[in-house]
């Protein structure tokens, strides 16, 4: 758990769907790493590519975008978000940032298991990326 607590994972949630989903996890008193920080937005499509790059620059280890997926109530927003995330991946590669540190996923108001699974997977990805980086450095 120690390694997990040393990492910061940003969860970008939607006000109408995954933010209530995160609350559902809390209401069930399920456990996840305290290094997980949740912000809520009307829709993640609001963030430009530079926002993600700035997060990594500031020390955020991993970002999970918990979108509404194809159930997004805003016309065309999910398509735009997917395309933007693809462009962020390109920028991450160009800047030597492991792309597994960013995940676009879909979480609804009752997705407790999926919510926890995504955090666990991101933790593993971050640890893997760290060990690979340390290996390269060694």
């Amino acid at each position: 758990m120690g390694d997990h607590n040393n990492m910061k994972i940003l969860l970008i949630t939607t006000m109408i769907s995954s933010y209530p989903g995160a609350n559902t996890v809390g209401q069930a008193h399920l456990h996840y790493s305290p290094g997980t920080y949740i912000i809520r937005v009307p829709d993640p499509v609001v963030f430009p590519e530079s926002f993600y790059m700035r997060c990594y620059e500031k020390g955020i280890d991993g970002i999970i975008i918990m979108s509404s997926g194809s159930d997004c109530p805003y016309e065309g927003a999910y398509r735009r978000l997917s395309e933007r995330v693809a462009r962020v991946y390109v920028q991450m590669k160009e800047n030597g940032i492991d792309t597994s540190r960013l995940k676009l996923t879909t979480i609804c108001t009752v997705c407790k298991a999926a919510f926890l699974k995504e955090i666990n997977e991101m933790q593993k990805n971050i640890l893997q990326a760290r060990s690979e980086k340390e290996g390269v450095a060694a």
Binding site: F51, M53, P73, Y74
Partner: protein, 602 residues
């Protein structure tokens, strides 16, 4: 990367930011895990924070009074409450700010219960550090917050209901009884919609036509503005002020102004392709709606005769056109299969089976199903009853969909499948007649979808904002949905949805003006360079436009999705209350490597 430090927006830069931070114990729900005193002490050391306090229940009257007194006596002009989820008490604290004479939007609610103390039990130190970071992020956000005002638009006390089926009539009547003007538009030549095709309906066993007649009589006696044989030519405007152009059968256009629109456009039946279980090739293969129509007027008899031949063995096949699997089923016109469950067909099929046995008790009935989903109150009774009356059930899987083989003499067919109920034994079922339990598919309303940019789901039905929290609202302000345009549902559910839509519209139009949350796009004209990149991102016609060389927003049409924000290089356009500068500030607070030395509690 270029760093843009902007602790205050242009609007509030002349004002000293004085933040009050209030940390709630929630009676131990938070304070048993999070050291709330430590959070308070840490936040006191943060720039802009003038007061930080903790209290046992911030939502209580004494808790709210703490805030109100500090606003009045200590000139606090921004509030952060770290407590439960904002979905519970955001409104509570906004009202407290209003009572203290402060703009209610100068308040940020930080969730340290559901997303901290409740999920990090036993990790008190880490949970406390997290609470400090989250609260600091709240301070960063609110320090960059301008006062906001609700968007106010005039509201026409009139509603256009599109679709004159059961849902449309129910919604129209409910709206009219609440004092609103109503125009009910029906494409066909009479009211009633799909219900006119039905005989007796579950669970009341009333004749569907009687239900339609009751509703139609009520609509007529109330003298609602009913337009038959009419279609929508154009809809323009926004919530409170929609201009609806209606085209009649003579192509004459009439205009109606409406404050809101209820869509009750209904569904279509799934139409099997030629050869699907023999449909279209064999006269004895029919769909469930066709079968219901066929037996509706048949008298009770020992024999069931169809097309001159006695039917002894009758087979029903469930899930035809529903719960389809890619690669197994033939795709629809758009290349996709119907993955969704049509929900009502199981009960409808079992209801029909019982009705059939009432008339023709000597029939052998076979029911071939994937799953039986009789989900409604009392619906399981139809299954129980059918079982007790000797109906033979077979269960198939997607790996073993019943195979249809016509009889050599062309008078019937054999259905072959592996039956899950007998441990995958291969069974051959002789059928003199086959009824396909076809599901519901979305009605073709692409003109409305395109005109109003209506959201549709992967199932192609209209997509509500949220199935539980806002089940009859579309993301488009002022447009509600009622009935099967939203997805498969039976008459009872359609009526409930229509009632909910009418209630929502009534609340919306209860005053002569509509107040909406101010979380829509806002343009800083001093920053806008007129590049027009934002225009290409906006899906909502009229929400964003250019004038005087910079972008303008119509707040009544903007849905606040933020698609335009991400593409604006100078950050001239933002969602009010959710600006990128605010998010940057939050990330700075969250990503503090260690807590700032000044914030570490002594």
């Amino acid at each position: 990367m270029e760093e843009e430090k902007n602790t205050q927006s242009q609007e509030n830069e002349s004002e000293e930011i004085r933040v009050g931070v209030y940390v709630c114990h929630c009676g131990g729900n938070i304070s048993d895990v999070v050291d709330t005193k430590a959070v308070v002490e840490a936040l006191k050391k943060k720039p802009n924070v003038k007061i930080a306090k903790d209290f046992v229940f911030m939502c209580s009257d004494p808790g709210q009074k703490l805030i109100i007194d500090d606003i009045i006596e200590n000139n606090i002009n921004r509030i952060v409450v770290s407590a439960c989820s904002p979905t519970l008490h955001e409104t509570t604290f906004r009202k407290a700010l209003t009572r203290a004479g402060l703009n209610p939007y100068l308040y940020e609610h930080v969730n340290i219960r559901e997303q901290d103390s409740w999920v990090h039990k036993g990790e008190n130190e880490a949970a406390t550090a997290k609470a400090i970071r989250l609260t600091a992020a709240g301070v960063e956000k609110i320090a960059r917050q301008d006062p906001l005002e609700p968007i106010v638009v005039n509201a026409e006390g009139h509603v256009v209901v599109i679709g004159g089926g059961v849902a449309g009539m129910r919604a129209a009547l409910a709206l009219f009884k609440r004092g609103l003007g109503v125009t009910l538009i029906e494409k066909g030549d009479r009211l009633g919609g799909r219900a006119l095709e039905l005989d007796k309906v579950y669970p009341t066993e009333e004749k569907a036509t009687d239900i339609v007649s009751q509703l139609e009589n009520a609509v007529r006696s109330e003298k609602l503005d009913v337009r038959l044989n009419c279609e929508i030519e154009m809809i323009e405007g926004f919530v409170g002020n929609f201009d609806v152009q209606i085209r009649d059968k003579d192509s004459k256009i009439d205009k109606v102004r409406a404050g809101a629109i209820v869509l009750a456009t209904g569904f279509d039946h799934y139409q099997p392709y030629e050869g699907e279980f023999g449909y279209g090739k064999s006269p004895v293969v029919v769909t469930l709606p066709e079968f219901n129509k066929l037996i509706a007027d048949m008298p009770q008899s020992d024999k069931f005769t169809y097309k001159g031949k006695e039917i002894k063995n009758l087979a029903f096949i469930h899930c035809v056109g529903s719960r389809q699997v890619e690669g197994v089923h033939q795709p629809q016109a758009d290349g996709r299969v119907n993955e969704y469950c049509s929900r009502v067909c199981c009960t409808a099929t079992l209801h029909t089976i019982n009705k059939t046995l009432d008339k023709f008790p000597n029939l052998n009935i076979f029911d071939l199903y994937k799953d039986i989903r009789t989900y409604g109150h009392g619906h399981e009774d139809y299954y129980e009853k059918a079982s007790k009356r000797g109906v033979t059930f077979f269960r198939y899987t997607d790996d073993s969909i019943p195979e249809y083989a016509p009889s050599p003499n062309g008078s019937g067919a054999t259905l072959t499948m592996k039956d899950v109920l007998t441990w995958n034994e291969e069974v051959s079922i002789p059928a003199d007649m086959i009824v396909l339990a076809t599901g519901m598919v979305p009605r073709e309303i692409s003109n409305l979808v395109g005109m109003l940019k209506l959201p549709t789901g992967t199932d192609r039905f209209l997509q509500e904002v949220h199935p539980k929290l806002r089940p009859v609202e579309l993301a488009n302000n002022g447009i509600m949905i009622a009935g099967t345009c939203q997805g498969p549902m039976d008459i009872t559910e359609s009526c409930a949805a229509a009632g909910a839509s009418a209630a929502k519209v009534s609340i919306l139009l209860s005053k002569k003006t509509i107040e909406m949350d101010p979380y829509v796009a806002r343009v800083d004209e001093a920053k806008c360079d007129g590049c027009k990149l934002c225009l290409a991102e906006c899906e909502y016609k009229g929400a964003l436009f250019m004038a005087e060389n910079y972008a303008h927003v119509n707040p009544a049409l903007c849905v606040g999705c933020g698609a335009c924000v991400a593409v604006c290089p100078p950050r001239a356009i933002n969602i009010a209350g959710w600006t990128l500068d605010q998010f940057d500030g939050m990330i700075d607070a969250i990503s503090m490597e260690e807590l700032e030395p000044a914030m570490v509690p002594a």
